[in-house]
Amino acid sequence: MNNILVFPMVIPIIAGVSLLFFRSYPSIQRWSSFISLLVVFFISIGSLEAIRRNGIMRLDFGGWAPPYGITFVGDSFAMLLVSTASLVSALCVLYAAFAGDKKREGAFQYPFMLLLVAGVNGAFLTGDLFNLFVCFEIMLLASYGLMTLGGEKKQLTEGIKYVLINILSSWFFLLGIAYIYGTLGTLNLAQLSQRIAEAGQPPMLTTISILFLVVFSLKAGLVLYFWLPGSYSVLPTAISALFAALLTKVGVYALIRTFTLLFYHEPGITHTIIGWMALITLVGGSIGVIAFVDIRKVAAYNVVVAIGFILVGLAANNEIGIQGSIYYLVHDIVIKALIFLLIGTIIYLTGIYRLDRMSGLITNYPLLGWIFLLAALSLGGVPPFSGFVGKLMVGQGSITAGQYFLAFAAFASSLFVLYSVIRIFLNMFWGQPMVGKLKQVHLPFGMMVPLIFLAVITTALGFGMNALTPYVADASNVLMNPEIYIEGALENE
């Protein structure tokens, strides 16, 4: 019965590999990848409900009982992210389908996107540290492919930097795995947690935890975000939205997982460092969002700020802070996809990257303008949209933990974020229209559909946050009480 856990990873892989044989049929590529991601979404929603009712699900591959075999462990936190990620990537594929970039579609764009989602979902679900590494690599190899697809000069040079940074961080990941296997003799997350708890996390293990902190920070863009704005801003729209929504979030997921399940015994050291790193990220990201007039860069720095914000909740290390982080993580996957799709659509329509070179777009494209305003408000955390609850709870958690300075920085950064997107709105959408109604580039309604869906989701999440509450409560309950996870992941019935 628990076989259902493998579907979020296996369906995209099967779909992706079979699509390799349909290279010259773009419509088959488009629709089957969209449908397979939708199927993954519905399966994961179903399993989310099942997990809430019956507790953690586990799948032992090949019938090898843990800790000997590789396991997939689905708890509410992982499944919540799997369902959000699948839905958002389905919408990104939908956008790509309507944008219809012939060159990239012929170069296996959709199989790469599907493999990326497979890697992401696998990373969320796996219960084994080495398997996490493998899933990261699947995701990264697909992202290398997407990064350089099309082969424009800028993409290639940025691609080299991106690949190099990620090879290095994967190297550090393997290094950490080697050390932790050498000291504890296991790689199963639940068993690692048990053994670390027995040993009481001596300084040696705390040092290893810092190694993991560096690795996952590099993936998430926490402090080590220098590679992010350059590489995200050379990508085509749908792919950049997929990257912004998913890639960094996997790093954040790994950070939250390792520092609540494994290395939670020395919060004075590890969580304080995370707090400082979150602070630096918030400040650096806030400077970035207001420093650039290139709207792609503004959007990329918005990703950075959000990462800092989510980790403020982890640094608080209490139930309400973690809950806030989970809410915000879900919200952020949706809203980053929406913002990147909007920015990409603006560039598609006008061909202009600078926010001071355009005005009056709302006269030409009213619906796009209003969706942009809605996205801007949601990004800034204005109620009733979905960012509000996450921000509120992260702030509460931070204040409960006595980290007033961090709470202040988090909320100040929200103002910068709000300012940065409202500035784009005021400059580009308001004012004198620069293009006449007759000369404007036609905006196909198909491209608007995913935008409308994402806008509806962020609004619905804001109004209907209560629907999400039981799942988030369950997720944070498991995160704050590692013994529940251990029991679910190790016990044989």
Partner: protein, 112 residues
């Protein structure tokens, strides 16, 4: 034996670091390849080298070598191979379209 291999890992890592810090793209690719081999060796060493006999249940043998690190390395080698192959193709493609293999001449863009 462990000490010897650890020293070898150290030598490999320093060689790789030297190569990675150069400006030439091919040297950087070679650097990443050597770096990944260094960590594979480290993985094997961390599992303990001379643990015992072949990990197959048999009469008369008391200790067995830990087989897990070798399984891990096998996976990591395959991944490293794929990444290196991709990186080489990427570097060659970049060389073709940019016309240089020097990283210094690739930084930034004109409008920045």
């Amino acid at each position: 034996m462990e000490t010897l291999i650890t020293l070898l890992v150290g030598v490999l890592v320093s060689t790789a670091t030297y190569l990675l810090l150069s400006k030439n793209l091919i040297r950087i690719v070679l650097g990443t390849a050597i770096l990944s081999h260094a960590v594979h060796l480290l993985l094997m060493t961390m599992g303990g080298l001379k643990g015992g006999s072949v990990p197959i249940l048999d009469d008369g043998t008391e200790t067995y070598t830990d087989a897990l690190p070798q399984a891990l390395i096998l996976t990591a080698i395959v991944i490293g191979f794929a990444v290196t192959a991709f990186f080489l193709v990427l570097v060659y493609r970049t060389y073709q379209s940019v016309g240089t293999d020097n990283l210094n001449e690739m930084r930034g863009s004109k409008d920045e």
